[in-house]
């Protein structure tokens, strides 16, 4: 692992229209293997920042650099949306195969690869099912499999489990950690849940709204990958309290400002 950042944001801003400053002057270096969460209230520009990193939105000012990788993957970035965002007309297999199909790879050449990734997310039995036949958690797994099938180095996730129940959510959190660890991924995970961010990440970036900006950069001293038991330890609670307070501080400051 070298020391250059894999993603570097330099004074990045995003304006919608004339006055809506969704992201204001964010600079950030992300190193390979980091599991970063963007934590903040809704409307603070988390999604906007993530989409700019993914190249889905142009920046208004600043630069975003992603260190290019010597071609072992079809696509350096995987993106998981808040909704599963699957094609309802296609089977689980075809949904996961999509990125490879768009890269021009023949189905027969990559069948094994798609099946492997489906196995990794525990959906082997469902490769022929349609999305409507799956539960919310399973759809999310398909979405993750699709993001990982191109063997990206970077995984971007935008509040992926916000709509799921607590149990499914913590299970998927563990799966994401496992997959990130196994595949040596650099992850940016957007969430508005303090516990989720403390459990998952090696570094928490706290953001505030109006204008969307970075207010705290908190590296986590903690065992990673986390074990489920860690959730019940005093250290976990202490970390969560610390993050919570920082977050609250930014909210109050924001209230006074406006």
């Amino acid at each position: 692992m070298n020391n250059d950042p894999i993603i570097r944001l330099t004074r990045v801003s995003k304006k919608f229209g004339q006055s809506m400053l969704a992201v204001d002057d964010i600079s950030l270096d992300i190193r390979e293997g980091e599991f970063i969460t963007f934590l903040g209230p809704s409307g603070c520009g988390k999604s906007t920042a993530l989409k700019m990193i993914a190249g889905l939105l142009p920046v208004t000012a600043g630069t975003i650099e992603i260190t290019p990788q010597s071609g072992v993957s079809e696509q350096d970035l995987g993106f998981v949306f808040q909704e599963p965002t699957l094609m309802p007309w296609a089977t689980v297999f075809d949904n996961v195969y999509l990125p490879l199909r768009l890269a021009g790879l023949k189905r027969s050449d990559v069948e094994a690869r798609v099946k492997d990734i489906l196995k990794e997310v525990g959906l082997t039995r469902f490769e022929g099912s349609y999305p409507r036949e799956l539960s919310g958690g399973m759809k999310m797994r398909v979405s993750i499999a699709r993001a990982l099938v191109t063997r990206p180095r970077i995984l971007l996730m935008d509040e992926p489990f916000a709509a799921l129940d607590e149990m499914t959510r913590s299970k998927l959190n563990d799966d994401v950690v496992r997959l990130a660890n196994e595949n040596k991924l650099t992850v940016i995970f957007v969430t508005h849940s303090v516990f989720e961010s403390v459990y998952l990440s090696t570094r928490i970036i706290i953001m505030a709204a109006r204008p969307g900006r970075l207010v705290a950069d908190m590296p986590m001293q903690r065992p990673w990958p986390p074990k489920d038991e860690w959730r019940t330890t005093p250290e976990f609670t202490a970390e969560a309290r610390k993050v919570s307070e920082t977050l609250k501080g930014t909210l109050n400051a924001n209230d006074i400002d406006h």
Binding site: K51, A54, G55, L56, E74, Q75, L77, F79, F81, E83, T85, M87, P88, W89, A90, L98, P99, R101, L102, A103, K119, E120, V121, G122, L123, T124, R125, F126, S129, Y130, P131, R132, E133, L134, S135, M138, T150, K171, D175, R178, E182
Partner: protein, 283 residues
């Protein structure tokens, strides 16, 4: 590597209760309406016989059936003409509607400049345009075709445009991220997204094509052409051959029903495995 266990089980056993439910569904969709139809026909037959209603007012179903058989050959020829006209115009409406719809969806300026014409064509009653078209176009068949096409074309056009625009934004972003070519985007995202809209339009357009074909022929028939079922109806009306009128009417209805069943079947075939509108739910 550890594989996550899945708690949800989708393979519910096919049990007898389910089969029985499916059977009842079949009875409801087929046996019931047919029974009601037969009862209605029987009642009609009985009332005509009981009140001795003359056949030039309301012929009994048995007489209509008799006429259908007696005039079979000539009525069949007319039916064939109307069938050809309807399906030909529907085919052209599909081709024109989809191509123009795709063009509209691709280019806003094209849409803005051409859409008003499409609307004018749509809102002007075809009966009002038909005489003009019959004057300008030499071949009667071609003229009738144009009339029926005008009627059937619009729903396909407008639904194709809406459908092509209805693709999920996040999915569209995903295609951008994976650098999909325009062709891939059309093939794997836009076309499937548009399909439910297109199939809905097809069901409407199928019925409209028949209406267009019949109405146009009424106009043309008045000008002395005798070819399709509509002309048979007019001609029988002039000669007060009411049973024959009914017979032709029955054939027009049958054709309409066949078109409806065909388009519904196609829609179920194409969308049944994924789209809410065609998924059969058990409850």
């Amino acid at each position: 590597m550890q594989t996550t266990s899945i708690t949800e089980d989708l393979d519910a056993p096919v049990n007898t209760a389910q089969l029985r439910r499916a059977w009842r569904e079949q009875i409801l969709t087929w046996v019931m309406p047919i029974t009601v139809l037969i009862i209605a026909l029987g009642l009609w037959e009985y009332l005509v016989w009981h009140y001795e209603i003359p056949k030039y007012l309301i012929p009994a179903p048995s007489l209509i059936a008799e006429t259908l058989i007696k005039d079979g050959p000539s009525l069949m020829a007319s039916s064939w003409f109307t069938v050809k006209l309807t399906f030909f115009s529907l085919g052209l409406a599909i081709i024109g509607g989809v191509l123009l719809g795709a063009l509209f969806a691709l280019s806003r300026p094209v849409e803005l400049s051409l859409f008003p014409f499409a609307v004018i064509l749509q809102v002007t009653p075809v009966v009002a345009i038909a005489p003009l078209i019959l004057i300008y176009v030499d071949s009667t068949f071609a003229a009738l075709l144009i009339c029926a096409w005008i009627v059937a074309f619009f729903p396909i056009l407008s639904n194709t445009v809406i459908g092509l625009r209805s693709a999920d934004h996040n999915l569209s972003d995903l295609f951008t991220m994976y650098r999909a070519s325009p062709w891939q985007r059309l093939r794997y995202l836009l076309a499937p997204s548009a399909l439910p809209y297109f199939m809905a339009a097809l069901k409407v357009a199928g019925g409209l094509a028949l209406i267009g074909a019949v109405v146009a022929e009424f106009v043309a028939g008045a000008a002395g052409q005798h070819t399709g079922l509509a002309s048979r109806i007019i001609e029988s009306s002039f000669r007060s051959e009411i049973p024959r009128m009914f017979a032709a009417l029955v054939l027009v209805s049958l054709l309409g029903i066949v078109i409806f069943l065909l388009t519904s079947w196609a829609s179920r075939k194409v969308l049944g495995h994924w789209h809410e509108s065609e998924i059969r739910r058990e409850n």
